[in-house]
């Protein structure tokens, strides 16, 4: 299987879906002539022309709304946010228009579109450019949320998201774009990963380390570390946060009887809050320890290198959480 970067995997998915379906187009800031702020759309302007690869003004609310309006007529827009940080400006159109349209039209008007771009912390970008935006989106019924953590998932899930008939927020990891991984060769057929299916990234018997997006890689690193101490960590990558693969979460917890949720976002009403709730409601009798969470510190992201390190979830804190649920202190 060829090894390509996360960025190339996304680019392949975009190109293949635009090739397959004339109603798919890409719009956003710098996506065309600049080849994308993170070069995800590299070469697409040349290949598909300015009708289908469109540079927009810096008007997140406006072009997100334009995408929703186009989707109301049956087109399949892909709206790229340079980062999801800037999409907060567009949330009215995401939540009040895209998410609710199908419902408040009584099923007359679906919104088959994708909002995509990077989310999460990068390096010393401080408060406004380093935040995990999953919770803003997953909170609203009507939206689906996809968070790929590997190149293969990025490709297969983006293709599924573009084909989905609902608004899908597709959140990429800003620090993952250069990550390499095996992705099936396009010549070997259509590679699509269905939404709502979690994946066990590493099987284990002692503790379930459940996570999504970029944190999958940190989880695997921690699993490797603990393996040396004879702790067998299962890493479960949710991959999509809505629909949520509850069966996979419960299966893992019923096996290991212990769980830690790892996420980049803030703790208060974060993704982990929901996961913990789901586990205690549906697998309480299987638990041998309280479920713990490792999250960003409950503060805006600081700039100073030492403070930033303190604010982000890191291997040490994940190891400590695993040890606590295993009573290995």
């Amino acid at each position: 299987m060829p090894e390509i970067t996360y960025r190339e995997a996304l680019n392949q998915a975009l190109a293949e879906e635009m090739e397959r379906d004339e109603s798919v187009f890409l719009l956003g800031e710098e996506v065309a002539e600049y080849d994308g702020a993170y070069k995800v759309s590299k070469g697409l302007l040349e290949r598909f022309g300015p009708r289908r690869v469109v540079d927009t003004p810096i008007s997140e609310l406006g072009f997100a709304g334009l995408g929703v309006g186009a989707a109301m007529t049956g087109l399949r827009p892909i709206v790229e946010f340079m980062t999801f940080n800037f999409s907060i400006l567009a949330l009215d159109q995401v939540i009040n228009s895209a998410a609710k349209m199908y419902y408040m039209t009584g099923g007359q008007i679906p919104i088959p579109m994708v909002f995509r771009g990077p989310t999460g912390a990068a390096l010393q970008l401080s408060a406004q450019h380093s935040q995990a935006c999953e919770t803003w989106y997953v909170h609203a019924p009507g939206v689906k949320l996809v968070t790929p953590g590997t190149p293969a998932d990025a490709k297969g899930l983006l293709k599924a998201s573009i084909r989905d008939d609902d608004p899908v927020a597709f959140m990429e990891g800003e620090l993952l774009y250069n990550m390499k991984g095996e992705v099936p060769d396009p010549d070997d057929g259509d590679f699509v990963i269905p939404l709502g299916k979690a994946e066990v990234k590493r099987e284990g018997a002692d503790v379930s380390l459940i996570t999504h997006g970029k944190m999958v890689n940190l989880a695997l690193q921690v699993a490797g570390k603990l393996e040396k101490e004879d702790v067998d960590v299962e890493v479960l990558d949710l991959r999509t946060l809505r629909p949520l693969d509850v069966d996979a979460i419960l299966a893992s917890v019923r096996k290991t009887n212990r769980a830690v949720y790892l996420e980049e976002g803030w703790p208060y009403v974060g993704i982990g809050s929901q996961i913990v709730t789901t586990i205690q409601e549906e697998a309480f009798d299987y638990l041998d320890a309280p479920v713990l969470r490792v999250t960003q510190a409950d503060v805006p992201m600081p700039y100073a290198k030492n403070l930033e390190k303190l604010a982000k979830p890191d291997a040490d804190r994940v190891v400590a959480a695993c040890n606590r649920v295993l009573y290995r202190d």
């Binding site: 989707a71 009584g106 007359q108």
Partner: protein, 363 residues
């Protein structure tokens, strides 16, 4: 469309156009049948809204309910000249626009009643009337949010290389939203076939527009290279004539347009608000109703030109009242949505894997 050849050729006042065409200020443009149709439609809108008002008063309609009484000529004048394939989108004062775009009065009233037979299956209510088949695209509750959506419809028309037009209504207060300005700019940059109609009824809820807008409503459309126009929205003959010409131009590629329709709301902002009081006087409302009621304005013109008799007018009104009554009957007869409908239409695609609803009720 004749334009004023002033220093700014991008600005027009529809009055000038009507005058230039001559012949009783534009009435000659229409035949008797069309003029009677104008009256029939506006009477229907009026009687429909009055029925909604009655039903609200006795609790048959809930929530917010914004009536279009006094603004009927704007709905008819901007939608009547369109073709079926054209798009219309508006804010939450949306009942009469829906009727003008061809939605049946019964299902529209049933939507207000929150019934299964409503156009949006009782899930949208007064503020969210939709008719995808008739290309009536709502019915939007956040001030100004429909403006970028309209730009998206204009975008889709160009993308598919078709020749439809999108008419987007917004209130005078919506020009203060960023969404409006972002959409105007994009519409101009991409030459989208959208007519933005600002229904200037002088008040955003209870705030007079001059208190919150630095310049006039007509001027608020400037700055984007989009032609701006102003039309007397209480005169259906002037409005229809102007729009018919403008739609032709836009269909032929003239790009986006910004039109101020000068109008007035005879009722409160919504059914929960007083008609007059702290923000406008009763006298002001009474004077407007006396001098600028779009139905009276048309009636006088038709009577003067001997195109309609009192008997004919009464017959049309009786017909309108009957249709409005029947709409209420339809709504009354329609059942409430079944309880299963709570979870339908949240997602268009129920994925094979994973859980979409997190409230635990499905377990």
């Amino acid at each position: 469309m004749p334009k004023t050849e002033t220093q700014d050729e991008k600005k027009t006042d529809a009055n000038d156009g009507a005058e230039k065409e001559g012949g009783d200020e534009g009435i000659d443009r229409f035949d008797r049948e069309q003029l009677h149709h104008f009256m029939r439609e506006m009477l229907l809108y009026r009687r429909f809204e009055e029925k909604a008002e009655e039903a609200y008063a006795i609790g048959k309609i809930g929530g917010f309910c914004h009536l279009h009484i006094g603004q009927e000529a704007v709905a008819l004048g901007f939608i009547g000249p369109l073709q079926e394939k054209d798009y219309v989108i508006t804010a939450y004062r949306d009942h009469t626009q829906a009727l003008a775009k061809g939605l049946e009065p019964g299902p529209v009233m049933a939507e207000l009643f929150g019934r299964d037979g409503g156009v949006s299956r009782g899930k949208g209510g007064s503020m969210h009337i939709f008719g995808a088949e008739q290309r009536f695209m709502g019915g939007h509750g956040i001030v100004g949010a429909q403006v970028p959506l309209a730009a998206g419809m204009g975008w889709a028309i160009k993308y598919r290389e078709e020749d439809q037009v999108c008419v987007c209504f917004l209130g005078d207060a919506a020009v203060n939203q960023g969404a409006f300005h972002e959409a105007m700019n994009m519409s101009a940059v991409w030459e989208l076939p959208v007519i933005y109609v600002v229904e200037n009824n002088e008040y955003g809820m209870g705030t007079a527009i001059e208190r919150v807008s630095a310049v006039s409503i007509e001027e608020r459309g400037e700055g984007y290279g989009v032609p701006t126009h102003s039309v007397n929205g209480q005169d259906i003959i002037e409005t229809w004539s102007f729009v018919e010409d403008l739609v032709k131009e836009v269909r032929d590629g003239a790009g986006p347009q910004y039109v101020e329709a000068r109008t007035y709301r005879f009722k409160g902002h919504s059914m929960s608000d007083p008609v007059s009081g702290t923000y406008r006087s009763k006298d002001e409302v009474e004077e407007k109703k006396e001098k600028e009621d779009p139905i009276s304005v048309l009636r006088e013109r038709l009577f003067d030109a001997e195109i309609m008799t009192q008997d004919e007018l009464e017959a049309l009104d009786e017909e309108a009242r009957k249709v409005a009554d029947e709409a209420v009957e339809f709504a009354e007869d329609s059942p409430f949505p079944s309880e299963e409908e709570l979870y339908t239409h949240v997602y268009a695609e129920l994925n094979e894997h994973g859980r979409l609803f997190m409230d635990g009720r499905d377990r």
